[in-house]
Symmetry: C2
Subunit: 305 residues, 2 copies
């Protein structure tokens, strides 16, 4: 079942305690779609500049990602650079150049509007609304956001998420959005804003899924080596929605099994953990579905009692 | 199966965003033994001053805790005061008066040395060693420590834990003890120091259990209201060892089931979560074993997939 992903494709400069990359493929849409591609057909909507390298396009194409919606325009691709703290739980943004992304207006190629799954990466809420409106046969749709939109575009964001099935954010964003420090209470407030499913990502500490009648909590996978956490949250999102698309999960018609949602959280965690094992998107050059399923089973072993 | 608990019995002054208490029962030994008393017979070894109130003694006695090892001497009981940050993830110690605890020399009353389970609270490593040496028929023994002993009494601490079956510490202490930031690697180094079982507590994020052949990870229980986190880690320890004592867990003779250890981690988490629901030890005035088992099952529901 096909998934449409909308968001940024970027070049990153990253420094972690393990080393440095000056110019490497990044962006939420990139990570989400690479991750989701292990579970389902993925079609992306994004924009890049004329500096976008053929090898990066090839990496996405090799994962059978539909690139008709990857618009290429004159100018430079979105650029982000950041440096991580020694324990990698914090990072400082050194530079953000929106470049061609500043004028990004998502355009859906023919057939995209028929796809049943939609994941709206962290972009301007008005753009998220615009894409959402064009989709005709959604089964499960939602997205991500960030502190900037929560603080400075609150009304637009609230309008955007009102119709979403799911919202996927991290714990500090959830607290900010709800204006409530306790996560259990914050989650109830956010469910009142529209989404029937809320996933709160907690980085190395795992993730939680909230619905009116359901709570699921997963600890983080414990890696031997965290090489580069960039994109881990996006890979979580890609694994979460990708797995549900693979299941044919159909929330709008009520054919849902809560266990599918729980397993989707675990697949999300698995994909986030693989992402951290190498710099940038490198882990996805070799990763296999078999490794993913093995880690899923490992997760079951070390959390069952 | 009987458990001996050694550590501090104290009076605390606590301020959290929910309120303030000027003078309330506290101390690691207090929390550990109250928590463990729901699972097993508990005998404590501690010291208090002549200001120790009868009602506090009664609270412990009501939980059938053997108080023959609670020495009362002239002077004032150990006093600690602290204030919590708004999100309660940090706290600042305002005052620590060791008082009679400064000269604490644990003395085991008749019969204590026959008990099979031993939990050494966070005290001077030499005192921990001294008590450990006196025990004759241990099945499972270990304890807690803190940054102060790790930094300033490292050699004594390493000698103390060498023979322990388990060490129970928090994540920053584990990193400090191992000199390693990655918890998976840190755990392996600590297992090389002696203990065959390492439990790392992560506060609201849960806990992890490491053995050479085993890894178990539990997320934290998500409370609607965290009233006062004081003692939660000690209540975790009490639930963990208390449950194993209830099972008759016998590591020294090899009669062990890893699933018992996993369930002990969950019971520890459950007891830590109850501790936070009210100020000081207040939750233990009403808590029942039935509520504990219900929360254990709730834990299973929200972590199974």
């Amino acid at each position: 079942m096909s998934l449409v992903v909308v968001g940024s494709v970027a070049y990153d400069a990253i420094e972690t305690p393990h080393g440095k990359r000056e110019h490497t493929l990044g962006g939420a849409c990139t990570y989400i779609s690479l991750s989701a591609s292990y579970f389902t057909d993925v079609s992306i909507v994004a924009v890049v500049g004329d500096d976008f390298a053929q090898e990066d396009r090839d990496l996405l194409a090799k994962r059978k990602i539909d690139l008709r919606g990857l618009e290429q325009v004159p100018g430079k691709t979105f650029f982000w650079s950041g440096v991580y703290s020694p324990d990698m739980n914090d990072r400082e943004t050194l530079q953000t150049d929106l470049n061609v992304f500043a004028d990004f207006k998502p355009k859906l190629p023919d057939g995209y509007d028929e796809r049943p799954y939609l994941l709206l990466g962290n972009i301007q809420p008005e753009l998220q609304k615009d894409v959402y409106r064009q989709m005709k046969h959604l089964r499960f749709a939602g997205g991500d956001t960030m502190n900037f939109w929560i603080q400075s575009y609150r009304e637009q964001l609230l309008e955007a998420i009102r119709n979403w099935d799911f919202l996927l954010i991290n714990d500090s964003e959830a607290r900010m959005l709800a204006g409530e420090n306790n996560l259990r209470k914050a989650a109830q407030k956010i469910l009142d804003m529209g989404p029937n499913t809320l996933v709160i990502k907690r980085g190395e500490y795992g993730a939680m899924l909230f619905r009116r009648d359901t709570l699921f909590i997963a600890p983080g996978y414990l890696l031997e080596e965290v090489f580069d956490p960039t994109g881990a949250g996006d890979c979580f999102a890609g694994g979460f929605v990708g797995y549900l698309a693979e299941c044919g999960f159909d929330l709008r018609n009520g054919h849902i099994d809560a266990q599918d949602l729980y397993r989707a959280v675990i697949y999300g965690s698995v994909m986030g953990s693989f992402c951290c094992e190498q710099f940038s998107v490198d882990r996805f050059r070799q990763l296999t579905r078999q490794e993913i399923d093995q880690r899923f089973e490992e997760f079951r072993r070390f959390t069952s009692f």
